[in-house]
Point group: D3
């Protein structure tokens, strides 16, 4: 362990409800410089077409992340010992102006990327992933492993709006931010607008794995395919909390019954091991529709699961260099 | 597609929270004439012995059904293209007078049946199924596929009351509305009043499948048996939301832990394919005990799943005629 | 009574939880033609800077307005007998695009105004009042009686955004839609950004009545002044639900303690009698933060109070013509 | 103090959340024999026309009544020292059968009356007051002091139903249980069905005091009149929780804004001093719509306020005899 | 059936929401004398390090236990026919003083044990199990089958506090109350403080079965091992409600995603058949964080499942003696 | 304005839901050095005898305090311009050990006092005021102005416990921390344990003003007396949120109906002007029982009202020196 890495407050010393609320009780820092992984909030739901509220996601995920401890009980990973991690605060946003909101998020994220920290962000709605990718994938398209109930590759809404939380991945592909042949979507389900709704995605080369296929095959098999699709190149991981069942994640804007259990979601993320993750997010946690912090806890725990995989990868890279 | 079929409002044009609330955003019509399938509310919980509130079910199921889209993502069914479907409103009810309530529901439902529309109703408590069957099964007993935590074949309550939401199927059999040899109950669980509580049902010929048997055998096997039991005759499908686990459907009056997941419930209903459904319902959604519309969403989605199966059957019949 | 006026469903015949939900259980009509007063929803919160959710306001105000009956118990007004009133549905909105949202609302409202119906709208956030005024006050500035915790005459937010729910009245004055000398704000309270925050408003001639002044003087005195300020010219009435105390209207986005009681709010609105109201609204009801429909009920009742005053005015005008 | 009177559990010894839940932490007894005042629950909402749930009222009022202590802080009354009071449990009810429900309540209440205990009941909806009066007023009509938002003197609902929570006092007068000339209603408000809706009540001689009159005159003046109306004869006091404002009593089925504050309600009940109370109730507490027990606490506290007045009266009578 | 055993109130006679609330609607008795199994509440959360509220657990579990009926639908067990069971009320507690709280619970539980009744308690936080074991295991260490998300074998908190709900089993082993070689923990999961956090437990001989191992092996296999570990000696069963997934048991203080489904939990407890249970508990139900009684219902149902196993054992012992 | 005073984040630049949550959006600092007024959280409810949860108060009051702006709209006070104010975080607490908790709070508060900052703390339950007074009143007794529903001068609970949230002021007087002749309690109400319950307080010289006296006299008169009682000496102000009515502050542990309106509470605190405040607190905000942050908002606003009075006093002192 590099002893100067940031360490979380210990819940056996300071109770979880005490102290300023930060992601995983890590120090709040004002710059990503020196960090391996930057935990960052994006309190913005400007792209939401149904129930808003994901703007409140980062605050509640910070609160609930006080339940995270230092060591992963299965893998044994100690993320805060093998990587330097801190809470860099929330990106600047604009709840009123969609285009300005996109720009602010991109600019904020670019600062993190330029500091050579890998971002792990807490949304915000899924449209936040677009400006994040503009910063993270600048210069070269990335692979994408996408957990979601919805494909989010629609074209336009409300008579021509190209930017909503239902369209980020179409835009990202059009902008060359994602290599669609290195993209996989897992957990897609629920009724669709048109029979060919996922044709465009498939035509780009995206592999769309419906929930029903996941149920048949299981996490191991599906993730083996996902890792093969992503390959060894830089890959972004986007986790929409509505991929999890609404009973376990009620606080979200577009719930679909029949989702992942949290056990399945944990298994899926653990199987990301070995992927070269250049950024990740957990999005669409909407506290106004939640109960007792349940969804924010699920979101915070998925962030911890992602962090463990990411920190392991950071440590390997450091060891290898 | 017969272009003059009613079509839902498109959520990519009008947001889901906008406009008058109808089942699946279909037009509200004043008569079932010309419809293949009539979506109808029965806001009545006069038979409820524990927590009331199912009277509010239709309104909330309408609200949450705005999340339904046009196409089933697995079967590809486009129910609104192959069948004429609309929202015929709520049946007349009487929250104060049980016998008058039963009569009003029967009368209202008879109008729909006489218009040759197949009813898919949103309850209301499970006693609503009795007057519905009086209209739907008039003249010939029907088969019945029944998803529920409870058998609902008790005899009387509170010193002799024959009509409660715990007794509809005993009454329906006594009245010759159901052919008990063509009846199956799936998902039954929870403690019971007396050791022989289900003896009467079994003695009539009803096949009672406990949750534990379902867990062992799985949806495919159980539904193969259910389809065989129902046979090719006219069959009614009754879906009590409390068959689903309380974590996924907390808004109900008599919750029992250990229920179906929504994934299992969807699988079960999809396996109704081929059954000659002459009517169906989703009952016992009780919004006062719900969170963020979760149970109403589960109920509305089960209605959509049922609708897809029913519309397919309608289309086949039309094609065959 | 003109017998062909639209009449509400009677709760002694059809229970309040039954039937399609419309404002005050009036018929849903597709055009404002022939109406004296058009009840209309504006499900849009694109201007909200803090907690969103007012987009869900119209639906819940419709639901709770089922508690309204036919006659005002104090004034004896029978609004549905002296004016033709109906629910014209929701205006078209765009939750993603602020400028398009403003335009859609203006266009929709213009259709109502051109049909010579007086609009009584249910928001939506307070920015909706701007496009409404663009339609209602086209051609001549109107007086404005404004109940609110906040002045909503700020200039810009988030680095220059001119359109938020904190700015509609500054914009409306700049656009010549309001005659600021005929404008009064009642109930203003809570901490402010800058010492001179209300100087601009006062410099325009707006009369700003703080809650503390209201407490000292009482409703009668304050409304006598308000009526004098508005004078006999055409006047718009805007009622922000956050003028009411958060205990009585918790479901709102920017609550301020120390507000009106609902009794005071009712007294204030009843004292509008004699004002030439050319349009009115109740805004900022945000159901995701509400309890058991309490705020929506307060909003719906304020709509009924406004309606009684407006219908009386309509009847007088008709009698006078 | 008669030392063998029942005493409540002391919260300084046993915390309020501990132990079996009874009214005011008094012993649960199986018979009213020997009691001066019997606290009794009537868990029945069979007469409810809108939102049900008052059936759960007694249980929650018991829970919240654990916050009551032994002495009234203003009057100094020690009800448990000057009267023998206990919790006699819940009356037998029937949630399914209205006529049987009415009969069971009447029979149960008659047992209490015949034991010469004065009942203070926790409803249940307001229809429960009818069978209570049948027991309490058997043989001679009583005076009635009635706190409510609604007059509850309607005739019939839903095509002729004479028994609902909107009709108990018309039925009671028709049955000769109430002397309408000794009856007063306080707090009536909200829109009404017909212009002459309260004409029948007034024609019987009932004094109807609207909320607006109460606001003008205040509690002292209004209650002086009420006491004069009731006179020295036996009088029943019926307190509908919806007389209190929905912000302070959200858990009820037919809320009307603009109600009493709890301070006003307490003042009103304290001014019952000297009235010969032969029975009293607190009705329409509906926990499913409540927050954190707030309404049940208001109901339990109103029961305590009533109890103090009733116990004082009992003590005076005993002293006088 | 021994006809003089206590019997629950029948929900087909008295509705579930009526009457005083006791565990499973059994009589409230003042002494455990004559009972085979004593149902008892321990309303105390003095050891809670995060969110408090388990002090309210017994009251709500009593309320929700009204949904239990007389017969187990799978095993056919009729616990109230083969064992004498009653509700002995709540133990004396002290919410302010931890050491006095521990002593009161131990003393209260000793009274039950000395009456030769087997306790089945409703917590309360998990620290309550320590004083219970002091009474139950007095004189000889017991085996322990422990269902939980957390091992609860930590050493100290907050600078040296030895008694918290995270430490009871370490203390119990140190005090010789548990034979660690006859102890198994099932369902352990979630991030941990230190890499060797469970080393102490394992070093004592405790078998720690992580959730992931349970998922792989299933209930049958795991419980076969658990029964072998417990052997034929006296064994205590401790069921922490947070072993169940937070979606099914949100009302708890230290939720961890990825828990047992209630179906799995039921299966696990049913497989306790044959174990010589000398006491059992269901702990950590915290109603302030619950929805509509869902967690309390899960807790009450687990109590019923435990009761059926315990009653069977009691009956066998009686038959054998 | 001293330009180097800490300034809050501007909500017109950064939305209220964004950024790390601190009191009034001020900087989080690690030491009170250089501050005039230190905002500090005390997340501890170890003295709570009924419903716990005040441990979560500071976090939610921080969240809701984001609604505070820079200027008091009535007095024109700009607290952040005339005093140096910041958020010094939460004091160290111990949720498990009452005596250690008291010591930690006293020690933490002493550090603030020794840095010559005036503390304005957010509780926590009312027992926190005792250790705060030990630090603030060290060396000389202070006057105390106390807003509360309860006198909190009881002696012991649960068989002799001297330290609970019902006893802090008796202990503080016994310890010589308060000059009881300079102490006044305002808003006391609700039933009491014993007839002479407030005799001890009065015997010490405490002036106890019941709610009923406040209603008669009004805020101006009562506060004139309160200021006279406190005199010109150093005075502590303790504001229990349960002094406010439960409808406006439902999130608290021992609610009493009939409380202050928030308007009254604001008026009372504003009339503290001129008092030499050496410390203040807002206690007993318990988020688990709250709705949509309503109580925390009331608490945060009362903190802002107190801050304005305190900052004015600081500025006067500075000007005078």
């Amino acid at each position: 362990m590099t002893t100067n890495f940031h360490q979380p407050v210990d819940a056996a010393e300071v109770p979880r409800f005490a102290g300023h609320s930060t992601f995983m009780r890590l120090p709040a820092v004002t710059s990503a410089a020196g960090l391996d992984i930057a935990l960052v909030g994006i309190p913005w739901d400007g792209g939401t077409t149904n129930r808003a509220g994901a703007r409140h996601g980062p605050r509640e995920m910070r609160n609930q992340s006080s339940l995270m401890r230092r060591v992963h009980h299965v893998s044994g990973t100690e993320p805060f010992s093998i990587a330097n991690v801190a809470d860099v605060g929330d990106l600047s946003v604009n709840p009123i102006d969609l285009m300005d909101g996109l720009k602010r998020i991109e600019d904020g994220m670019r600062t993190i990327v330029e500091a050579r920290a890998i971002p792990l962000s807490a949304g915000g709605d899924h449209l936040t992933t677009l400006p994040v990718l503009r910063a993270v994938a600048a210069g070269r398209p990335v692979g994408l492993i996408h957990f979601d109930a919805h494909s989010d590759t629609n074209d336009t809404y409300f008579g021509g709006n190209p930017y909503t939380h239902g369209t980020p991945f179409r835009r990202a592909i059009e902008e060359g931010l994602i290599d669609p042949k290195r993209m996989v979507q897992i957990g897609i389900r629920g009724s669709i607008y048109e029979p060919g709704e996922h044709d465009w995605a498939r035509a780009q080369g995206i592999r769309v794995i419906y929930m029903e296929e996941f149920i048949r095959r299981g996490a191991e098999d599906v993730m083996a395919e996902a890792r093969a699709i992503a390959g060894s190149g830089p890959t972004y991981v986007s986790f929409d909390i509505d991929s999890i069942d609404p009973s376990m994640a009620p606080g979200t804007g577009t719930p679909e019954i029949g989702g992942f259990t949290t056990r399945e979601a944990q298994a899926l993320v653990r199987l990301l091991d070995g992927v070269d993750i250049v950024g990740a997010d957990v999005v669409e946690v909407s506290p106004p529709f939640d109960l007792a912090g349940m969804t924010a806890l699920a979101g915070a725990t998925m962030m911890f699961e992602l962090l463990c995989v990411m920190a392991t990868s950071v440590a390997k890279r450091r060891a290898g260099s």
